[in-house]
């Protein structure tokens, strides 16, 4: 391993704890979780009908969040995904930048590795900075986190700040026990819509 491959083994932030803290008191925050580890993290923090965890469609999490945010302009939408999933859909950051949805936040848990496939390094272990790409795409606010100090302010910004928002969080590369959401896509779709249209409208 070279230095870049090793550095994320020592990042202080742990993904499960980060997601638990960001989703604390979430109320009816609508959450799209990118496939792989972030879908398990979101489920570990508490399965909810307002979660749409992905088992496929790699590269599509931000675009799903955009379609949802445009359809529900009075609700807050959070896309939580990993660096590998985000890298596959970089163009979607441009599309969000052009649309300027005020109610959309994108948070990338960046462990610099493809965690589900043998911990190969991603581009963020090298030269790529996702928050800078989001900034250059026209996101209203972009910031990066490496330490626990700003997690609470990030949680509040996701709920309140004018979007589109992008937060890149450097998290430790680690393999954790699987906490799996339901995997039937139709079930996930139906329970999300049922919860949304029963509670709101």
């Amino acid at each position: 391993m070279n230095d870049f491959q090793q550095r994320s083994l020592n990042y202080p932030l742990r993904r499960r704890e980060v997601v638990q803290r960001l989703l604390k008191n979430r109320n009816e925050l609508l959450v799209v979780a990118g496939l792989g580890a972030t879908a398990w993290d979101v489920t570990d923090a508490g399965d909810s009908p307002f979660n749409f965890p992905l088992w496929g469609g790699m590269g599509g999490a931000v675009s799903i969040g955009l379609g949802l945010a445009l359809a529900r302009p009075h609700d807050r939408v959070l896309v939580l995904t990993g660096d590998g999933e985000m890298l596959m859909g970089l163009g979607s950051l441009s599309t969000v930048g052009v649309q300027q949805p005020k109610n959309l936040a994108v948070v990338v848990l960046d462990n610099e590795h493809f965690g589900e496939t043998g911990m190969q390094t991603t581009h963020t272990a090298g030269s790529v900075n996702l928050a800078e790409i989001a900034r250059a795409s026209g996101f209203a606010s972009c910031w990066a986190l490496k330490e626990p100090g700003e997690l609470e302010s990030t949680r509040l910004r996701i709920l309140k700040d004018k979007g589109p928002l992008f937060c890149g969080i450097k998290v430790r590369a680690e393999s954790l026990p699987l906490v799996l959401p339901p995997k039937e896509g139709y079930l996930l779709q139906q329970r999300f819509r049922n919860a949304l249209f029963e509670n709101k409208n």
Partner: protein, 181 residues
């Protein structure tokens, strides 16, 4: 812009019929990767305040957006040309598994008289690719069939939560050729 002037003239009638059908079926989000053949329809949608139009960097974004739109209770359509089908295939797995009603209107390239051979592999096999992915496919050959076919496919898609594609034959669009320019 009169760069595609001859295309505009030919597409005026069917583009208006498609726009009217989208409105009739309550579609709210229109995402697209442009095609010269779709330019009149894209203009109609962009000038319609009831529609949210979203220009994409690649067609697969539109498939994912349709998923998000439906989760939030809105109907959508993806406008693209036949080459875009190839960019969508993995995302089509998601809408099939999640049973998202998905509607796409595709202008055809790579049919007879196509001057660009690179358009042929997807153009010639568009229906087969779409059917393998789970779509029902209808093709419009004549302008006057447009509204009937659009309404039929839209109704099927949204009433049965299925995947439907309308293909607009290249003969309705006019053949693009650099030789005339």
């Amino acid at each position: 812009m009169e760069l595609e002037g001859s295309v505009h003239k030919n597409t005026q009638f069917w583009a208006e019929a498609i726009h009217a059908s989208l409105k009739f079926h309550g579609i709210r989000q229109v995402s697209y990767v442009p095609d010269a053949g779709h330019s009149r329809l894209i203009d109609l949608c962009r000038n319609d305040e009831e529609l949210t139009t979203v220009v994409l960097t690649t067609e697969e974004e539109g498939v994912a957006m349709a998923t998000g739109a439906w989760l939030g209770g809105e109907k959508s359509v993806l406008l693209m040309q036949s080459s875009g089908i190839g960019n969508c295939i993995n995302m089509f797995s998601m809408i099939r598994e999640c049973k998202i009603p998905f509607f796409t209107v595709i202008t055809m390239r790579g049919e007879k008289d196509e001057f660009n051979p690179w358009q042929r592999p997807l153009g010639q096999n568009a229906e087969k690719h779409l059917e393998l992915c789970g779509f029902s496919v209808r093709r419009i050959e004549k302008s006057e069939e447009t509204r009937t076919i659009m309404d039929h496919v839209a109704e099927q898609v949204f009433e049965t939560s299925s995947m439907g594609a309308v293909l607009i034959s290249q003969q309705m669009i006019g053949i693009k050729s650099f030789a005339h320019e």
